[in-house]
C-alpha cells in the first residue's frame, strides 16, 4: 500500500489524515503536493495526522521537514498528530522531535493553532 492522504477542515485548521507508507517516490511526492496545494489555497494551519502511517524512510522524513519549512516560511504552522512508535523513534534519532509540535489529541491540537 502506498500513501493515502485525506484532507478535512476542522475550524481554521486543515487536518491531513495520512495512511500507508511515506517513502521515496509516490508516497513522499503526494505528501509534498498536498501541502503545497493547501498553501496555494491559503490554508496555513496544517495538522498532519500520522496515526495510520505504517512506514516512513529518510525521504519521508525529508518531506515532513520540507512541509514544516514551507508552511513556516509562508507564515503558517505545521504540527503533527498521533505519531506511531516507528515515526516517534525516527524523529528522536534524527533530533527532529523537538522541532515539531506534536500532539496525541486532535481537539487539543486544533485549539493550539
Amino acid at each position: 500500500m502506498s500513501v493515502k492522504l485525506t484532507t478535512r477542515q476542522v475550524g481554521n485548521v486543515s487536518v491531513v489524515d495520512v495512511a500507508g507508507r511515506i517513502t521515496l517516490g509516490e508516497g513522499s511526492s503526494n505528501l509534498r503536493d498536498t501541502i503545497r496545494g493547501l498553501l496555494t489555497q491559503g490554508n496555513k494551519s496544517v495538522l498532519l495526522n500520522l496515526g495510520e502511517v505504517s512506514y516512513i524512510d529518510s525521504s519521508g522524513i525529508g518531506e515532513l521537514v520540507s512541509g514544516f519549512t514551507s508552511v513556516t516560511n509562508a507564515g503558517g504552522q505545521l504540527k503533527l498528530l498521533n505519531l506511531t512508535k516507528r515515526v516517534t523513534d525516527l524523529l528522536q534519532i534524527t533530533k527532529l522531535y523537538t522541532v515539531f509540535e506534536i500532539f496525541d489529541d486532535e481537539a487539543k491540537a486544533v485549539r493550539s493553532f
Partner: protein
C-alpha cells in the same frame, strides 16, 4: 539462507531487496524489532545505490548479496556509480543541517546496524556492507 542477485536500477528493486533481506533475517532468527531496523538500513542503502550511485541508469545494476552466519547477518549492496566519501558527508544532527530536506540516509543506516563499511570498487562503483549481530538483539 543466502541471497546473491543483480537488481535493476529502479525503485521497485528497493522493495524487492527489502523483502529478500527481511526474509533472510527472519529465517536467521532476528526478532521483529531488528527486522524493521535491518529493512530500513537496506532500504536506505538501496535508495543510495539506485538514486545517487547508478542515477536510475537502466544499464547499471545493483548487486545484492546476503550472508547468514551463526550469530550475524551481512548484507552487501554494490552499485556502479562514482562513489562517495563518508568523511565529507554533512552531520544531519548539526543545528545548521537539522532542517535540510535530505542527508539522513547514511546516518539512519549507521543507527540501525552494528557495522557499516563502505568500499570503493574497481573500475567503478561502491559497495556498502551492513552487519547485524543476533547477540545484540
Amino acid at each position: 539462507m543466502t541471497v546473491d542477485t543483480l537488481l535493476e536500477s529502479s525503485l521497485d528493486s528497493v522493495d524487492r531487496a527489502e523483502e529478500m533481506v527481511t526474509a533472510a533475517a527472519r529465517s536467521a532468527g532476528f526478532p521483529e524489532g531488528d527486522l524493521e531496523k535491518i529493512a530500513m538500513a537496506v532500504r536506505e542503502s538501496m535508495v543510495n545505490a539506485i538514486v545517487h550511485g547508478n542515477r536510475y541508469n537502466s544499464n547499471k545494476k545493483v548487486h545484492l548479496s546476503v550472508l547468514s552466519a551463526r550469530d550475524h547477518l551481512t548484507v552487501k549492496i554494490a552499485d556502479e556509480g562514482s562513489g562517495f566519501d563518508l568523511a565529507t558527508l554533512p552531520d544531519p544532527l548539526a543545528r545548521e543541517n537539522l532542517l535540510r530536506h535530505s542527508g539522513r540516509g547514511i546516518f539512519l543506516i549507521q543507527a540501525f546496524v552494528d557495522e557499516f563499511r563502505v568500499r570503493r570498487l574497481s573500475p567503478a562503483g561502491t559497495e556498502v556492507q551492513l552487519t547485524k549481530y543476533l547477540s545484540h538483539s
